[in-house]
């Protein structure tokens, strides 16, 4: 399964869990008990499904369940992701199971309600953290331009940005694997040096900057054909580095053209890391 499909599955699963939890939460009253029971089983089913999906997904891919860690191996994923997933999914699983068990052991009812209540706060915190991690920069940019319409678009496209980030992470994870033993993380600084390096392999394309300009957030222009080139920096062009085949094709061509040789997996990851940092 490729990363894009894995990610679609993950989003679908996320919707199922979030929807199930929401319905269970608002139908907790006696008069909507049947719906509450149904959605409770749904949530438990979703948690079980998540564990099964982790077995199906590729190692290090969107469906994998990474172990929560206290250290952040930059430029890797924020460790908060693994923590949020572990706490939220774990909390909801226990809340669901105790709800089912409370039918037999009434004493579990308090624990069930307490966990459900806590889970709601965790969900809200989760949403706030996600908004902070993914949209902080864009929200601040937006406030500079400060138009309500742009803000609304940002909110609507937040899930798309999330998908793009996951696809890019998967591509980098692939290069990290290819880099093999001794790999010590990608470096935006090395990526920058590569991007700005002046080379002698081609008289027409001495550097990446020949077409992309020295500012990766700016529009580029093909040095021979005059064709407009969209910015390489992820902040200016979120679709960059999200299609693995496309990324490989471009590195294949452009490394050969500009550097006169192929790029190593580490160099490719460094380049992406630099473009993410811009």
């Amino acid at each position: 399964m490729n990363a894009r499909w894995e990610f679609r599955l993950l989003r679908l699963w996320h919707a199922a869990l979030a929807g199930g939890f929401l319905v269970a939460y608002v139908t907790a009253d006696e008069d909507t008990y049947a719906m509450h029971v149904f959605s409770g089983y749904w949530v438990v089913g979703a948690v079980v499904l998540r564990l099964a999906l982790a077995l199906v997904g590729s190692a290090g891919g969107p469906l994998a369940l990474p172990k929560p860690r206290l250290t952040w191996a930059k430029p890797g994923r924020n460790p908060l992701f693994a923590w949020m997933a572990a706490i939220l999914v774990g909390g909801m699983a226990v809340a669901g199971v105790t709800g089912i068990a409370a039918d037999v052991i009434p004493a579990l009812e308090d624990l069930h309600e307490g966990l459900a209540e806590a889970s709601l706060w965790l969900v809200l915190a989760h949403a706030a953290i996600i908004a902070w991690i993914f949209q902080g920069r864009r929200v601040r940019e937006m406030l500079k331009g400060s138009t309500a319409a742009l803000f609304a678009i940002a909110l609507l496209t937040a899930p798309a940005a999330f998908a793009a980030d996951a696809a890019r992470d998967a591509i980098k994870a692939g290069y990290a694997r290819q880099a093999g033993p001794g790999f010590a993380g990608f470096s935006p600084e090395r990526g920058r040096a590569l991007f700005e390096s002046k080379n002698t392999a081609s008289p027409d394309y001495a550097s990446c900057t020949t077409c992309h300009t020295a500012d990766p957030t700016a529009d580029g222009r093909h040095a021979k054909t005059g064709r407009a080139i969209k910015p390489v920096a992820v902040s200016a062009n979120p679709k960059r580095f999200t299609d693995a085949a496309k990324v490989e094709e471009r590195f294949d061509r452009d490394c050969q053209t500009v550097l006169g040789r192929v790029c190593s997996a580490t160099e490719k990851g460094d380049y992406i890391a630099y473009m993410e940092s811009k």
Partner: protein
């Protein structure tokens, strides 16, 4: 409803004169993306099928640049181009483009075909040297509707 139909018909009629210089553009998304990344996705009707086949077979040296891509992708795009080439599905524009090209010739540069040269005879060297033109293959610099297959005099 009726009003809309009449309006749509009127718009369609107003577009008719443009058909005179119309060359069927590429619509296949993969082809559009692959070609259009570095230059305009030129209409296949400007070259005979044999030219497109040769071009798609030597992408690592694409007019001096490396345009290499996965072989299956190159083959899919070749088929799209060959289907609408000057001597296949290129229509009237294709028949015109073929004039002056001998069967033994396999031109690769559209800008070196007899039809292109004849049509651009009166363009002075100074025009070509304008900074936004850069190269003769930059159709859109002068023909604003080139991407959609409209090459009216401008």
């Amino acid at each position: 409803m009726m009003k809309r139909i009449i309006l749509a018909a009127a718009f369609s009629l107003s577009a008719l004169p443009a058909l005179a210089d119309h060359v069927r553009p590429v619509t296949d998304p993969e082809t559009l993306k692959a070609c259009g990344e570095c230059h305009m996705a030129f209409q296949p009707a400007f070259l005979p099928a044999r030219s497109w086949t040769r071009m798609m077979g030597q992408l690592s040296d694409h007019f001096g640049d490396n345009a290499g891509m996965a072989p299956d992708k190159a083959e899919r795009i070749r088929q799209v181009l060959v289907a609408d080439a000057a001597d296949t599905g290129g229509g009237k524009a294709g028949r015109k483009a073929l004039r002056g090209i001998a069967l033994s010739e396999t031109p690769l540069r559209i800008t070196e075909t007899p039809r292109f040269i004849a049509k651009h005879e009166r363009i002075s060297e100074r025009e070509w040297k304008r900074p936004e033109v850069m190269t003769r293959s930059n159709c859109v610099a002068c023909h604003r509707g080139a991407e959609t297959g409209s090459y009216e005099d401008e």
